[in-house]
Symmetry: C2
Subunit: 189 residues, 2 copies
Amino acid sequence: MAELASNTISPARERILEAAERVVGDVGAARMTLDGVAQAAGVSKGGLLYHFPSKESLLGALAKRYVESMTDCVEQAKSGTGETDGRDLKACIVGILAQQPRAKIVGMGAALFAAAANDLTLLEVIRERIAQYTKQIESSDVDFARAAVVTLAIDGLMMRESLRISCFTEEQRERVVQQLLQIADEAYR
Amino acid sequence: MAELASNTISPARERILEAAERVVGDVGAARMTLDGVAQAAGVSKGGLLYHFPSKESLLGALAKRYVESMTDCVEQAKSGTGETDGRDLKACIVGILAQQPRAKIVGMGAALFAAAANDLTLLEVIRERIAQYTKQIESSDVDFARAAVVTLAIDGLMMRESLRISCFTEEQRERVVQQLLQIADEAYR
DNA sequence: CAAGGTGTACCGGCTGGACGGTATATTCAC
DNA sequence: GTGAATATACCGTCCAGCCGGTACACCTTG
């Protein structure tokens, strides 16, 4: 478990969020109920509602958590490889796709779809993040189109894996990641 | 119960499917109700239930329609550019991403997510299609990794647009498509 | 051809159950 | 004892699926 530097962290709160992700992955976004999440988290419904006053707030927290966790992964990979900032395209690839507990990313993707299924506006957080990133690669000296293709491919792979419709073998997946790294390199000519 | 052969095209049936896509796009997957779809299609709920005996069957039809429509787009683009088969990577790009009524793809993507939200198993159709396509690019003489990246980027862009979180300008999007075409070309060296 | 029969397409009300949310009770920490 | 954290019971709403009915287009058959 990584320690979260953000706001006050309640252990129960975290347990609920994790349980919610599990439930979504198991039964699908639309069939995720508050009772189900509470049961999976080992908490009563009232306890759940204490931490998240409404279903929407739970979904919102899930979406927010997704963005934060994603940024964490990239940040971690960036400091790990010692890349200068402005060149975090490769950190995205390594940080997101080569993550050790693969299930983490899959679960968070599923949570994202849950948020989307229940309320499209909950995706605003993601949209802002994408807008920010798009602007970043546009204003830097990197080849825009190549960099954009890399980010799109990352999204595509994540989506497939979250929806469990990815059909790559481990070896094929590794080759794809290597290819993405190469395209990212080419973008820095 | 009336079993409909998959080929029979009832005008009402088609109208319902289109309405369902519209509703999903408007209110989100989880808030899609049979009443809402029936109203949007200009039929009564009973009429809807006549064509689709259950909500699941409606969702299933939506997913199936998605796959079929996708194949149609590619097939159409392939015959349009006169490419030899085995080289339909570029046809995928042109057929799916450069589609004229953009809303069509967006709507179908939304429908796909609706199906996924209500029942993960409905995605089996998509999974099979992806498996088939993965095998195809693996066994052909095309550079597997490059081709895979192209398909992933297509998926990523489609997903972003279906979820309305894409932030590209028209001009940027065009450059991305051109870049994909170029990478597809490079894959055939 | 008329009268009754049969199948298709569609309608709209109903209901049982599920689900989100509230109100209230209880426990625990300080 | 005070307030945070958690549990239980309950309420109102919403919705999927069912059912009985209608309209109409066809057969039959006498």
